[in-house]
């Protein structure tokens, strides 16, 4: 039962990946016993499962995901949040307020206003409703300092790395607090603007070279070289 590409080879939509008794994994589809790619990415063959690690894909909400979003509308009973997804997410006032929400007495804009950035968690999502958010957990809520970097959501796993190897290296080398939103938004908060700049630089490099190997070491090397260069200026 044949497969047609090497492991981690670059494939494009419509490429025939395998034929026979295989299971269609992420970013593939099966038709007439054949498995094809639906997105451009790197093909993975894992036992009977064929999948493609997409190089570019937008974020589809998943219950339990941590996301970073922007308040785009203040409504009557809650807020609309742009989470870099085809669907606008909703944060209900009842999630934030302890007592019952009274639209006459309570002004939602005093809690979150248009333009505010928040870290939230997705609590519900299905085909007929927009994703629902909560900020009612430790570590969630309004973002008050740091920088936001946006990458294509497909790259977040790469930025985490195997068993967190990449993200731990980044935190260590730059000394920054880095919060990864599954929706492709990343919050970087460091002791200085310079350390934040290094983190942004590193993330951009990971994004561009995510399909290559030996990346963790190369990025660490780049950060060290850059720190040297700045020290010598």
């Amino acid at each position: 039962m044949p497969t047609f590409f090497e492991k981690r080879e670059l494939v494009a939509p419509g490429d025939l990946l395998a034929e026979g008794d295989y299971i269609a994994g992420e970013n593939t589809y099966k038709e007439n016993n054949k498995i094809y790619a639906t997105r451009i990415g790197l093909v993975e063959y894992e036992n009977r499962k064929v999948s493609v690690v997409a190089l570019k894909a937008f974020y589809i909400p998943r219950v339990g995901d941590i996301v970073i979003g922007k308040i785009v509308e203040v409504g009557v009973s809650g807020w609309s949040v742009d989470i870099n997804s085809p669907y606008l997410a909703l944060l209900k006032a009842s999630d934030v307020m302890e007592r019952t929400f009274n639209p006459r007495r309570d002004d939602l804009t005093s809690i979150y206003d248009v333009g505010d950035m928040i870290i939230a968690k997705i609590t519900a999502y299905d085909r007929t409703h927009n994703p629902l958010l909560t900020v009612n957990e430790p570590g969630l809520g309004k973002i008050t300092r740091g920088q936001i970097v946006r990458v294509t959501p497909a790259k977040i796993p790469r930025i985490i790395g195997r068993k967190g190897s990449m993200i731990n290296m980044l935190k260590r080398e730059t000394g920054c607090r880095i919060t990864l939103g599954q929706n492709g938004l990343i919050l970087i908060s460091g002791r200085s603007l310079e350390s934040e700049r290094l983190a942004v630089m590193a993330i951009r490099k990971i994004e561009e070279e995510s399909h290559t190997s030996g990346l963790t070491d190369r990025v660490a090397e780049m950060i060290r070289k850059e720190k040297e260069r700045v020290k010598n200026e």
């Binding site: 094809y36 606008l88 070279e209």
Partner: protein, 245 residues
């Protein structure tokens, strides 16, 4: 006004631009050329220059246009006023409206619209310079723009026109060949399963000539498909090679 050439195929069997009857014009494709659009691609096919961009999937506005079970595909084919010999008014013409419709219908079967209910995927095709085959080249880059935007697809859609000039069936007509020839047959397809998603014809062909032209167009589409795949992968292969050094 250009004057009409007397012959489109010379005694050696070559066309005005030196091509053989079954030869494609040189094609140059680049993917990911615009920073704002979710996906984009650009093509030069002979003297035709076409740019395509995709925005979406995103929520549909106005809301009543949304479909409950799938995404809505919207397509706008438009020619820049300076793209043709005699300046064209920027207002959408009837031809542009018809082409917008058939191009949308050519791309729809390739996209997994069912995955994104209540959203719209907007495709914009701008013809910057026109020298024949613009709807085909438009489909070719639009499908790359969709892939570049990360929209999941069954296959890319490749398009190419065949036709008849000076009594001979030829591939990939220029504007002069289309205007002075006997028939024009633009075709688009999903090449892996050979499924045709656009087919139009105007002119005069016997049923045998039609079959010959259809087969030639299908071959042309397959060549375009190779160029599409190469362009899509090129960006990433370049980086991979640079890193390996």
């Amino acid at each position: 006004m250009s004057k009409n050439p007397e012959k489109l195929i010379n005694e050696k069997g070559l066309r005005l631009d030196g091509r053989k009857p079954d030869e494609l014009r040189p094609v140059k494709i680049e993917v990911g050329v615009l920073s704002n659009a979710d996906g984009s691609a650009y093509i030069e096919q002979g003297k035709s220059k076409i740019l395509a961009a995709v925005y979406g999937p995103k929520e549909v506005h106005p809301r009543h246009l949304a479909l409950p079970d799938r995404a809505v595909l919207r397509c706008r084919y438009h020619m820049a006023p300076f793209s043709v010999e005699q300046r064209k008014s920027p207002a959408p013409s009837r031809r542009e409206m018809e082409l917008s419709k058939v191009i949308r219908e050519a791309l729809e079967p390739a996209v997994f619209l069912e995955y994104y209910p209540r959203t719209s995927i907007d495709i914009f095709i701008e013809v910057l310079q026109a020298d024949g085959g613009t709807r085909c080249a438009g489909i070719t880059v639009a499908s790359l723009a969709l892939a570049d935007a990360g929209v999941p697809m069954r296959d890319l859609v490749a398009a190419c026109a065949a036709g008849k000039i000076d009594g001979k069936i030829v591939l990939d007509l220029t504007d002069t060949e289309d205007k002075n020839g006997e028939a024009d047959l633009p075709v688009a397809m999903m090449p892996t399963a050979e499924l045709i998603t656009l087919l139009q014809m105007d002119g005069m062909l016997t049923t045998e000539e039609f079959e010959e032209a259809l087969n030639l167009a299908v071959q042309g589409c397959k060549q375009i498909y190779e160029a599409q795949k190469e362009a899509l992968k090129a960006k990433y292969i370049e980086i991979k090679e640079a890193v390996q050094e």
